[in-house]
């Protein structure tokens, strides 16, 4: 027995839900399903704080937004994609307003916008500092009104079914019962989010394990630009909880141990009392995180139980502004750090935040595998290039979620029913899960230990600064971990809500993704955006104005190829901030 | 048929408010201070004169009936929740509101019959 749908969406975050609605609106007769390993409103989109960018104010222009995005991405963005993105962004944001998202407002009732890092103008829409939360809940609650959208909550996808060169569905575990089930579809959209958990310190939730990236990679679709990992300059040291960029756009300062606004030493402009666009604390995330490392090398950071940190100071903004515009920041600091940012400085350090890379797709979200689409953080279209600007990602979920939804629905309308021959593959998968994990005998490796080793390897090799020798060593270590993974053994053999089984599958995804990151980083012998090689400190446009594509090789390790960047109107130039 | 719940809830609310505002002083005076002689009780004639006044009659009617309905409503739910008698909800409802109705009828009759 198999479940069959027209369009199947994997992931109930912002991208997945937007895609589902787009498909449902395109053709009400389509049978749409959303599979998600957690209830949709638990998806990590919920934790985005700062806002979503789209041009709306007079004086702003689509070109300005495009330029900020492209220069912020160090010219690795595909400019046709960026142009589509900035063009469709305003309507998408308005659409969300019409669906009930409680955007913060001006006194006259219009939507309010705030400045954000790397942006030349105020164009970031926000819902206090819980933008992602409000967007996700508005989207989720809106999907409830479409009867053609069926949900499979807490179903975990383990494999993409491919037959006759076309994606025909997935195999998933119903977590509550352990039932392994084929879900067939004419088109599948992966919206499974990022993979911050391959690193130890991250703002990402425990569910961000690169599942979709690994699923596509195993099914033969290449991963693009995986070496570009964004560190957010202001995470809380122990938990990695994010202190939003909005703290800085409202006027917060980064101070080293001497109380000095150190960013002025790193070509990011002069310290002014009020925030200045594209300058100092409003510089791009890659540059701010790099400045932290330099500061640490000079011995000017503070040291605590969880390593080095600096101070984020928002005391001068005053309680009133903090409570009005940054209430969640205050709540987080009080609850998780036991400090009150109205009176005290917040300890922060760079933490892994976002993956610029992902499954290679075209401008409609189509991957190189027919019938398989991708959108959201899992995908790389690419608009983010070598460094994403804050508040572009939430908008990307909407624009490219909608595009992928529409494209997949159109694709599905022209397909025959999935062929039942893939069901044999589903049975193989059920057998594999049983033999490798649930009924396995022997095996000595523990999930938690392997995961910790992988995370440590990644932090040491693929962090803010990288170099060939360390990356090579890391590639070897990851291979070794892949081998040890075969020896993994579970303590939990139950079919009912077996979270250890889920954890082991997530670990296997992360290992694949980690390898792709390390190999891509090793091959890119230049420094660009968030990818900084100490052995190749310069940007090299002659060789590397190109996307890396990682394909799974015969022995399981990735093979790296390159694809040229689409340049339309903005020829590569130097990135300038603070001047 | 329109469910009557909102109406009963209104009686409950009104009765609760009246009880909250006025019962403490009545209970202190008529239930404790006067009988115990802590305060000198007004004479029979004074009181009798008072209750004959139309405003007082109306006042008494309201102050007795609405709190009875307050009781009926709240007590009914207390029986459901605390004693877990939800399965008897019809019977309990009939008993509670009938009792309140009876008390109100007696009050109305009494007020009506004041010479």
């Amino acid at each position: 027995m198999a479940l069959v749908h027209d369009v199947l969406i994997i992931g109930g975050g912002g991208a997945g839900l937007r895609a589902a609605i787009a498909a449902a609106e395109l053709d009400p007769r389509l049978d749409i399903a959303v599979v998600s390993k957690v209830y949709p409103m638990r998806s990590h989109t919920v934790s985005a704080e700062g806002g979503a960018a789209a041009v709306i104010k007079p004086g702003d222009s689509l070109d300005a937004h495009a330029y900020d995005t492209i220069s912020g991405g160090d010219w690795l963005s595909d400019q046709d994609a960026v142009e589509a993105f900035v063009r469709e962004a305003p309507a998408e944001m308005l659409q969300l307003e019409h669906w009930g998202c409680p955007w913060s407002r001006e006194p006259d009732g219009h939507v309010a916008v705030r400045p954000f890092g790397g942006m030349k103008l105020e164009r970031t829409w926000f819902a206090a500092d819980k933008t992602g939360f409000h967007m996700l809940h508005a989207l989720f609650q809106t999907t409830l009104k479409y009867d053609s959208i069926r949900r499979y909550d807490e179903w975990f996808v383990t494999k993409i079914l491919v037959d006759e060169g076309r994606c025909q569905g997935v195999v998933a575990i119903e977590v509550a019962t352990g039932r392994i089930q084929a879900v067939l579809a004419k088109a599948v959209i992966l919206c499974t989010g990022g993979c911050g958990k391959v690193f130890p310190y991250t703002t990402n939730a425990s569910i961000k394990n690169g599942d979709g990236m690994a699923l596509a990679y195993r099914a033969g679709a290449p991963l693009k630009d995986m070496e570009f990992v964004q560190y957010h300059p202001t995470g809380l040291p122990f938990t990695g909880i994010l202190i939003t960029e909005a703290t800085r756009s409202e006027g917060g300062w980064l101070l080293n141990k001497d109380g000095y606004r150190y960013l002025q030493d790193y070509d990011l402009g002069k310290p002014e009392p009020k925030p200045v666009f594209r300058s100092m604390e409003l510089g791009p995330r890659d540059r701010l995180s790099q400045a932290f490392v330099k500061e640490q090398e000079k011995g000017r950071t503070l040291v605590g139980p969880y390593g080095h940190y600096v101070h984020l100071d928002i005391r001068h903004l005053g309680q009133k502004l903090i409570d009005k515009k940054l209430p969640f920041v205050r709540e987080l600091c009080l609850k998780y750090e036991n400090i009150d940012p109205v009176k005290e400085m917040i300890p922060v350090r760079p933490v892994v935040h976002y993956m610029m890379g992902g499954i290679h797709t075209d401008i409609h979200g189509a991957t190189s595998l027919a019938g398989l689409f991708a959108a959201g953080e899992v995908a790389c279209v690419s608009i983010n290039g070598a460094n994403r600007l804050g508040s572009n990602s939430l908008t990307e979920l909407l624009v490219f979620g909608a595009r992928a939804g529409t494209a997949a629905a159109a694709f599905a309308s022209q397909q025959r029913k999935p062929s039942p021959s893939v069901l044999a593959q589903a049975q193989d998968e059920e057998r594999r899960l049983g033999e490798r994990f649930l009924r396995k005998t022997g095996g000595t490796e523990k999930v938690a230990a392997l995961r910790a080793e992988m995370q440590k390897t990644m932090e040491e090799s693929a962090g803010i600064y990288r170099t060939a020798s360390v990356l090579e060593e890391a590639a070897r270590k990851l291979r070794k971990l892949q081998e040890r993974f075969h020896d993994v053994s579970l303590e939990d053999r139950s079919y009912t809500f077996n979270t250890e089984l889920i954890a082991v599958l997530e670990l296997s995804y992360m290992l694949d993704v980690a390898e792709a990151i390390v190999h891509s980083a090793l091959q890119r012998r230049e420094s660009r955006g968030s990818h900084q090689r100490t052995d190749y400190p310069k940007r090299d446009d002659t060789q590397f104005l190109a996307h890396s594509l990682a394909t799974r090789g015969e022995n399981g390790s990735p093979r790296i190829e390159y694809l040229s960047v689409t340049i339309t109107r903005w020829p590569p130039a130097q990135r300038v901030y603070g001047r | 048929m329109r469910p009557i719940t909102p109406f009963l809830w209104t009686l409950f609310g009104a009765g609760g408010t009246i009880a909250a505002l006025l019962f403490p002083v009545h209970l202190v005076l008529s239930g404790l201070a006067f009988p115990l002689g802590a305060l000198e009780a007004p004479s029979y004639d004074v009181l009798y004169g008072l209750v004959r006044h139309p405003v007082t009659r109306l006042y008494l009617l309201v102050v007795i009936t609405l709190p009875l309905f307050h009781w009926a409503h709240r007590f009914r739910y207390t029986l459901y929740d605390v004693l877990q008698l939800k399965h008897l909800y019809r019977l309990i409802a009939v008993l509670c509101y009938s009792a309140a109705l009876l008390g109100s009828a007696v009050a109305a009759y009494t007020v009506w019959r004041i010479p």
Partner: protein, 246 residues
């Protein structure tokens, strides 16, 4: 500061056991650890078979609700240090069926949520080209509080009325209905009032008020419900008005 603390955790493996039991674990005590960190310590180091849900570890995804020493809490926001010297009792949320260990079944809520139509309903949609619906900060303020619900279910597991009668639509669903009723962009307050006035709706609530007390996001569902009752009561008397509709 003690070197370690004891957790008494509910275990229930439906394939082997017929009812839940408590199992104790000794975990290291750290000043900045929350109960969820301790559970993860157990899962990673002591017993890989312990099952529980979590995700964001920052109090916003709503998945880690459990009973801690008998009160519903987000375990990612409950510091071990507030429960010293222990032992700390960690149990699945009250009043929900237990699937396994600390995991409860909340499909029931998902049905209820859909029932109250938590989306904007209008007679006439404004075209996107005409821009946003204007909404002043004061109008936003009207419903803002009720829009903060993270669906964590703590309120349900604090509400004895829900415990006694699972058909009760419950605090969070009603608060979300009220969130849309109060939104100046929405026009379906009547429709939702009718849904909420059904037998299992808001009139079941006896204003225990615990829902609001345990809510980690200060949503105040108890307030939402009483406000709706007031609206419902006033609505009932409309027939007395000459222009009343019924």
């Amino acid at each position: 500061m003690p070197p370690s603390v004891t957790l008494a955790v509910t275990r229930y493996r439906p394939e082997q056991e017929s009812e839940p039991t408590l199992q104790t674990y000794e975990v290291p005590f750290r000043k900045d650890w929350v109960v969820l960190d301790a559970l993860n310590y157990i899962k990673d180091n002591l017993d890989g078979s312990l099952s529980f849900r979590w995700s964001c570890r920052m109090g916003v995804c709503g998945s880690c609700g459990m009973m801690v020493n008998g009160s519903p809490k987000l375990t990612c926001a409950a510091f071990l240090s507030d429960y010293l010297p222990g032992p700390i009792r960690v149990e699945p949320l009250n009043y929900f069926p237990i699937i396994r260990d600390l995991v409860v079944d909340m499909t029931d809520f998902m049905h209820k949520l859909k029932k109250v139509k938590p989306w904007i309903i209008r007679a006439q949609e404004k075209p996107l080209a005409d821009g946003e619906y204007l909404q002043t900060p004061d109008q936003l303020e009207m419903y803002k509080q009720f829009s903060m619900c993270i669906n964590c279910m703590l309120c349900y597991s604090a509400c004895p009325v829900y415990g006694l009668e699972q058909s009760f639509i419950g605090p969070a669903a009603i608060a979300l209905a009220q969130r849309y009723n109060l939104d100046s962009r929405d026009e379906a307050a009547r429709e939702r009032l009718e849904i909420l006035s059904e037998h299992d709706g808001m009139w079941q609530c006896t204003f225990v008020g615990e829902c609001s007390k345990v809510c980690p996001k200060n949503v105040d569902p108890a307030g939402a419900i009483q406000q709706l009752k007031l609206v419902g009561a006033v609505d009932w008397f409309r027939f007395l008005l000459p222009w009343g509709t019924r």
